[in-house]
Structure formats: C-alpha cells, structure tokens
C-alpha cells in the first residue's frame, strides 16, 4: 500500500479525476484504510469548492467593461 505522504501528494489529482486508473486504485486502497487521509481528502474537497466558489464572485465592473469595449472600438480596420 502507498504511504500517507504519497496518497496526500496525489489527492487533488484524484479528486479532479486526473489520475491514471492504476494510481487511482492505489489512492482508493489507501483511503479505505487510513482515517487521517480520509480527513485530508474531505478537506481538500472543501478547499477545491472554496476556490471554485470564489472564482464565480469576480464580475467585471461596468466601468471597466466600457473602457475595454472602447479599446476594441478604437482598433483600426484591417483591409
């Protein structure tokens, strides 16, 4: 079985479904036997959601949008 540090190192890729099948099975096996790493995995999942939720909060201010649209309008016509 892989060690805790090997499992923790791969946790995020595991949660993102980016691990190859063989490595995923090894992490699964470890999580099935290690309570502490299950806690690490649950927290990593919370941290992922936290980052993704904050990404949704960034809205372009209308004044910035207008200035950037003005930049686009000022671009020359290319023949």
């Amino acid at each position: 079985m892989i060690t805790c540090s090997e499992a923790v190192r791969q946790l995020w890729e595991y949660l993102e479904n980016e691990l190859p099948a063989g490595d995923r099975e090894k992490v699964d096996e470890h999580l099935g036997a290690c309570l502490r790493c299950c806690g690490e995995a649950e927290f990593a999942q919370e941290l992922r959601k936290f980052l993704a939720a904050h990404a949704e909060l960034d809205v372009i201010p209308d004044s910035v949008r207008q200035r950037l649209l003005s930049t686009l309008d000022s671009l020359p016509e290319v023949p």
Partner: protein
C-alpha cells in the same frame, strides 16, 4: 482562412476579433484579477492589442476563446513576475511538510465549532483570498488559478503555459502546499481566527 471566412460570414477580421473579444471580456477580466490583481484591466488591454495583431493567424474560429485566454495568461505572466516575494528553500520545505487540515485540527481556533475546517475557510472573504493568491509566486499562482478556479485540465494549462504536464503537476502540488501555509499565516496575522462575527 477560407474556413474562417465561411464560418463568420462576411465580417472583416477586425469585426470578427471585436466580436470574439467583447464576448470573452468577463472571462478575461476574471482570470486577470486572479493572476495580477489590480493590474487586471491593464493586462486585458495588453491582451486585446496583442490579440488584434495576431488574429489573422487563427484558422479555426472555435479555437478563438482559448487562443485569446492563452495570450492573456502570457500578458499576466509578464506583469506578475516582478512583484512577489519568492519563497526561499526553507519556506518551500516548511510548506511541503505543512498540512492545513492537521494544523486547524491541532490548533482548534474555534473551540465551539462542530465544522471547524469549514468555518476556517468561511472566514476568508473574496479580498482575503485575492491577497493570499497574489502573495504566491506567478509560477505557482497561474496553474492554481487556471486549474482550480477556472476549471481547465492540467493538459490544457500545460499547453497554455508552454510547459510539460509533469512540470504543471509539480507546480500545482507545490502551489497548493504554499497556498495552505499562506492561508494559515494570513488568518493568524489578519485576525481571522477570532470567534464571533468579523
């Protein structure tokens, strides 16, 4: 080129580029905010000008959004390189050993909480997280933001940043460890661990 002309009707290159960029502005700005903070507007301006100059090289219109985003990321990298304190080897080694999960459990900052770890994260407002993200060196911040906030795969980010996927995976790991450590440091130095409403 004929494919693009067919897809875009009779619109000129300039018109096509304006339509593409206008539609992508919200996304470009949001990504730039995470990568360069208050310089986001300037980074998007840079991106629009560079994109306009290179738009003729695009043959497949459906690739336009990803192409423009890759330009933005590079504009942000140019801006983001200079400001941030790079972690020294000692901090990187400390971060590698650091576990935010264990630290929160051990330090128990909210003794009356029955959802300690979640409560810790909920202390961070949008500007707090921005500040922590912007404290990370660009080489770690960009993969973190693009994968974990924008939802790109590590393969897509590797292409965007022009680095092997293995390098991106290594930077993501190190970046997450640094993020964990700096979230804790920020919380302890900015009064986020006091009980009660902020």
């Amino acid at each position: 080129m004929a494919e693009r002309a067919a897809a875009m009707g009779t619109a000129t290159d300039s018109e096509q580029f304006r339509a593409l960029a206008a539609a992508e502005l919200p996304k470009l700005y949001a990504v730039a905010r995470r990568l360069v903070g208050d310089e986001a507007e300037d980074a998007v301006q840079d991106c629009l000008l560079k994109g306009f100059r290179g738009y003729r090289s695009i043959t497949d219109p459906s690739a336009g959004p990803a192409w423009l985003l890759a330009i933005l990321v590079n504009c942000c990298r140019d801006r983001g390189r200079s400001h941030v304190r790079r972690p020294d080897q000692v901090e990187l080694e400390e971060a590698e050993r650091f576990s935010l999960f264990r630290t929160i459990a051990d330090e128990d900052p909210f003794p009356y909480s029955d959802s300690l770890h979640l409560d810790f994260l909920q202390q961070f407002g949008r500007e707090d997280l921005h500040a922590v993200l912007l404290s990370l060196p660009e080489m770690y911040r960009a993969p973190l933001a693009l994968v974990h906030m924008e939802g790109f795969s590590t393969k897509e980010v590797a292409e965007m940043l022009g680095a092997p996927r293995g390098t991106i995976l290594a930077r993501l790991h190190r970046g997450r460890k640094l993020l964990e450590k700096r979230l804790w440091d920020y919380a302890t130095t900015h009064g986020l661990l006091k009980e009660g409403p902020r």
